[in-house]
Symmetry: C2
Subunit: 424 residues, 2 copies
């Protein structure tokens, strides 16, 4: 094994990049024993060398070509983020015969097909464990362990910021207070938009759907909404009904193709995902042979992400460029099913007129479109009547049609609140 490439390149030397460098050093003994020799960062690309005075001497460079053209580097870890110039760098690296490990979910969720095809053409690997849920090894498991399975679905809590906020809201806090607390503790960015609006989770679900079903799914195929508009009253009602509210990413294999989405969703308290609290992530895989396997752990963090990057680097080194699980042949093209045809259970909260016959009218509308009610709470307080209905699964389009008809009854006094609910 003395001919193994043991020098790697880094694109980026922020929290994750510096952690990769440090962990490779801290774990040098075990890594050398496993790989048959040391593995070390040779060059790390940064924009401004002066900004990272803590880096090892001589490791930083501002010259991409120093990495691309170094014949000693066989694997490059991309931890710089962004779409451009990152995408262009990856294409150049593949053309130079270098394998790439990427932590960049937005890049993969948007340009995965192009990047995989380019890697395949140049007979190098593109691995991306760190792009989804940091060190939770869901990418390797889906690509390498599940081949005997016709994967039916992936269900996950794939954003730690929103899960932390939702856990706090379940404890009675408002959205605003919970977000402020998350920012204070470092679980939410100063600008939390991509996390709280669901875009971060949607990119991860696009990647997971791609590898679960061996097909191309981009972030544009994933309808999503976030948790910004959630009210504490719904968390309370959900609890009363035996549910917790979670931001659930879902990818399903349907008769007509695949569907993926991200929505705040009621999860029965007995469900494996209901117990995932705080900043943790979890992904549940359902398959023909495995029944269901759930992976739980911290979904973010510098060291956690670096751990996944190093696992991928070592997997590239350990498979000498021939691992067919990384190949583009893994993918086919299935149609994407529109969300209106996908089935879901729903939670519907209505602020209604406090007069006789309102419940009967609403129940009639649901019955007319063949939607089955699972439970009802009706409660009058402060001169208002609140009506909460949960339904058994039905095509989403049909449910939204029913809500439109309910609004036109003229018995509601405010915009209805709608959430998906997982079956009990």
């Amino acid at each position: 094994m003395t001919d193994l490439t043991t020098s790697i390149g880094l694109l980026g030397y922020g929290t994750v990049g510096s952690a990769v460098d440090r962990l490779l050093n801290d774990r040098a003994e075990d890594i050398a024993r496993v790989a048959g020799g040391p593995v070390a960062v040779r060059h790390a690309l940064v924009r401004d060398i002066e900004r990272r005075r803590d880096a090892r001497d001589g490791v930083l460079t501002t010259d991409f070509a120093a990495i691309r053209d170094d014949p000693a580097i066989g694997v490059v870890a991309e931890v710089m983020g962004g779409i451009e110039p990152t995408r262009g760098y990856l294409l150049e690296l593949f053309a130079a015969g270098k394998s790439v490990v990427s932590a960049n979910k937005q890049l993969l969720a948007r340009h995965g097909a192009e990047l995989f095809a380019a890697a395949e053409r140049h007979r190098v690997q593109l691995r991306f464990e760190a792009s989804v849920c940091a060190a939770i090894p869901v990418v390797k498991v889906l690509r390498e362990s599940m081949i005997a399975n016709d994967v039916a679905g992936v269900l996950g809590i794939v954003n730690g910021t929103t899960n932390f906020i939702l856990s706090a809201m379940a404890g009675g806090q408002t959205y605003g207070d919970a977000l402020a607390r998350a920012q204070e503790l470092g679980y939410a960015e100063a600008d939390p938009t991509e996390d709280v609006n669901g875009a971060d989770a949607a990119a991860k679900i696009a990647i997971l759907a791609s590898i679960a079903f061996h097909t191309r799914v981009t972030i544009d195929d994933v309808p999503f909404n976030g948790i910004e508009d959630l009210e504490a009253v719904d968390a309370a009602f959900a609890a009363e009904l035996g549910y917790k509210i979670k931001l659930i990413g879902s990818a399903q294999r349907l008769p007509g193709g695949v569907a993926a989405s991200v929505h705040p969703t009621l999860v029965p308290t007995s469900h494996a995902l209901a117990g995932v609290e705080g900043s943790f992530n979890a992904v549940m895989l359902r398959g023909s042979a495995i029944r269901e396997i759930t992976l739980v752990g911290p979904g973010a963090g510098g060291d956690e992400t670096a751990s996944a990057v190093i696992g991928d680097v070592m997997s590239v080194l350990g498979t000498s460029g021939t691992g067919f699980f990384q190949s583009d042949g893994y993918f086919r093209q299935l149609p994407v099913v529109p969300e209106s045809e996908v089935e879901s259970g729903f939670y519907l909260r209505l602020d209604v007129l406090d007069q006789p016959g309102v419940l009967a009218q609403i129940a009639r509308v649901l019955a007319d479109v063949d939607i089955s009610i699972e439970s009802v709470i009706q409660r009058a307080a402060d001169g208002r009547a609140q009506l909460v209905v949960t339904t058994h699964p039905a095509p989403e389009g049909r449910f939204f049609d029913a809500v439109g008809r309910i609004r036109s009854l003229g018995v509601t006094r405010a915009e209805p609140t709608m959430l998906r609910a997982l079956p009990r």
Copy 2:
């Protein structure tokens, strides 16, 4: 990729072996797309061809040499079980240049070191995902994803039979009734000895400790006891204290080496392992960079085990024999720490004389050996006094020493009941 070996051999054609054959056929299209060509069972070794009339024509053989000497077969899946002649067959297969995928936990937990060294010598792979918790991909994750981590510990529910029984006991059933129900549902064998006495879990923990800490741990290094003597009253007391009783396999990296054990243990209801119910298994990995990752799923079953076997077969084919994660160099030799020096929290239930000063005497003994009490329940009923104490973690030897001193006080009226307790 047209030169990939696509014929495999099977040793054994029982529930798992026939499922491997069937799933390879059911999933032929996806597998061919990923691997670049079909993968099929060419020969399957059985003792009696007549017994398996459902097998495909011509696939069964009673001649081991037909598999060992077939140059078209590059990978053999061992799903026959047993120690001999299985061990000898594997050594012959390695010598013939064939990689092996094994589902045989007892063989690996007893003869792993010899088998890995032989595979390494002949430059072939030995993979064994199916030997631990069926399709839960804990072996691949530990070997291939965790290299950046100094793994601190592995904690798991790795036997589904006992977990099913314990779930039923938590619901109020006696051990005997729960076992009978498990047998009725097929979760327990007619002879459940190896499951209920902890031996099955101990073999799995030996394997997990080996790969978590990159060292040799055999089943003889794993002290274990089972659940046969558990009483419903302890399940009730545990619940009252905020715990569930689980059969916990533990492997720890300690300053002096490694320690592994299997014991019925109180798990706080808020712990990730407390929610694992029925026949499911779960393994929690703690590491320096990953914090903790938990994998949950069905730990047994023909299709589930076959799924893991096929994942391993494909991983062998996809890495062309060069994957260094499978190499013997992965292992070092750390000392095994005796259980008496390992720390654990404890639950101690004593049947004591109903007279003044008993609690004070017992508390004094614990204080004398520097064991800290976490909680106490004292209760008199039917002329007996029951005293239940839980402790903070302390070296096990010191705890057992204290129990010995408590017995010699002459205030107990029956053998004490002792269980490990995980920290809250």
